[in-house]
């Protein structure tokens, strides 16, 4: 397990330093309009993927981002190392390695289960039409997240019937200039079609019920100025395993000191996760952009 974390830290460190040492070139998008990285690796808020294409690349350009995210909860540690790249402000590709460390999984389930559940998320997103800022209607994007759970035992024990699945989502995002208290406001709505249990950490589908369901997700952010934003997010989740799986929510502060760096801190409420109630805690994500 030590090796796994070491490998991940080395990989993330290598990617971050490559980006940080890259020539001082930045894409043309307006500061902060690259968004941050959501937990599954797509450009978005903390929990919700947005219609925004990741990176600062505008038309005729590309842009990339690498990030490390940590969510500290009473009975879990959720970590994500993610990279995504946007091309031509049209398509985005992403990869995320997620780990959910369960502090006392083996003692509860009484079986030789690994205390860490690892999941890989391969993502793609395409902007269908619209523009985040300049056109009257929102920017609309269609995305997919293919997830492979490398430690499916816990999900299987609890009734999941697959160790991989694909979420599809349709997002609409719009930045309204001079909208509230003379500040700019970002609104995002996402419909997700998913059969994941706890976003896939507890596998996919359920015995006797394998059709995916539509879930609603939403984000709202207020830009205090060009560098700071406050916001909230909501992510509805299914409850296929009949464990009382909770919807997720967070309140975040995002800091965009330059096009090179994005930092997001949040207070998250993940409710009941698997057998553990009241999973609220802190979220921190640090992102480097090329």
């Amino acid at each position: 397990m030590v090796n796994r974390y070491l490998n991940r830290a080395l990989l993330a460190g290598a990617v971050l330093s490559m980006l940080a040492l890259a020539p001082a070139w930045a894409g043309s998008k307006i500061l902060a309009t690259s968004a941050a990285t959501q937990i599954e690796g797509a450009a978005g808020g903390g929990l919700v993927p947005w219609a925004v294409i990741g990176g600062y690349g505008s038309e005729g350009e590309w842009g990339g981002a690498a990030s490390l995210t940590r969510v500290g909860l009473p009975d879990f540690q959720l970590g994500t190392a993610a990279v995504h790249a946007g091309v031509n402000n049209r398509v985005e590709f992403s990869f995320a390695q997620q780990t959910l460390q369960v502090d006392n999984l083996a003692s509860v389930l009484g079986s030789p289960l690994d205390g860490v559940i690892e999941q890989h998320v391969y993502g793609a997103k395409a902007r269908l039409w619209g523009d985040l800022i300049y056109e009257p209607w929102p920017q609309i994007s269609l995305g997919a997240q293919h997830k492979v759970n490398l430690n499916p035992a816990a999900g299987t024990v609890l009734g999941a019937n697959s160790d991989s699945g694909t979420d599809w989502y349709l997002s609409a995002s719009k930045l309204y200039l001079h909208a509230l208290f003379e500040r700019n406001v970002l609104l995002n709505g996402t419909f997700r079609y998913t059969d994941a249990n706890e976003t896939g950490f507890l596998g996919f589908g359920a015995e006797g019920e394998s059709d995916p369901q539509f879930m609603v997700e939403a984000s709202a952010g207020l830009f205090l100025n060009a560098n700071w934003a406050l916001g909230v997010e909501y992510r509805q989740k299914p409850d296929r395993l009949n464990l009382g799986e909770s919807d997720w929510r967070d309140a975040f502060v995002a800091w965009f000191p330059s096009k090179r760096v994005t930092v997001v801190g949040a207070y998250t409420d993940l409710g009941k996760v698997a057998l553990w109630d009241d999973q609220t805690g802190w979220y921190l994500s640090v992102q480097i952009n090329n």
């Binding site: 894409g27 043309s28 998008k29 307006i30 500061l31 505008s58 038309e59 005729g60 350009e61 402000n89 523009d131 800022i133 300049y134 056109e135 200039l177 001079h178 208290f181 003379e182 500040r183 700019n184 205090l224 100025n225 060009a226």
Partner: protein
């Protein structure tokens, strides 16, 4: 009692009539001097912008400066009338894409920052300029054939 009521009423009416009117955006940008500073800062930014500078190779900078000051003055509810060409005429044939538009917005924000324009006033001005996006990016849709300005 009646006197009391009258006094209160008079006081209320007086309070309403002397309530300061909301400053216009033109005033918040610093009127003519402030807008001139913003435009001069913008020209300085454009001078260092390798993406945008080539588009100004044949531009009469003096005229560009004068017309832009006029335009920002009018857009911000100032006492001016923009007398330049339409956005479609000015940008026809340039082959602009979003990266150019974003670069200009970034330079304008930097110009306003340099001029100490408050965030709210910056957002207000941007929100009034953004509706021009479509005409700037798709000028042909707004032009009768053969009406593009030959000497911008």
């Amino acid at each position: 009692m009646r006197l009391m009521t009258s006094i209160v009423l008079v006081a209320l009416v007086a309070a309403c009539s002397t309530k300061p009117t909301q400053p216009t955006l033109y005033e918040r940008l610093g009127e003519q001097d402030g807008i001139t500073t913003i435009v001069d800062n913008l020209l300085y930014e454009l001078g260092g912008n390798d993406t945008l500078l080539p588009f100004f190779a044949k531009t009469d900078i003096g005229r560009f400066r004068e017309k832009l000051i006029e335009q920002l003055c009018q857009v911000s509810d100032g006492p001016c009338e923009y007398t330049g060409d339409s956005m479609a005429q000015v940008h026809a044939g340039m082959g602009l894409n979003d990266s150019h538009f974003n670069a200009l917005v970034t330079d304008l924000v930097a110009a306003m920052d340099e001029a100490d324009v408050a965030t709210g006033a910056q957002n207000d001005l941007l929100s009034r300029l953004v509706p021009m996006y479509d005409e700037v990016m798709n000028p042909d849709a707004y032009l009768e054939p053969g009406t593009a300005s030959q000497a911008p």
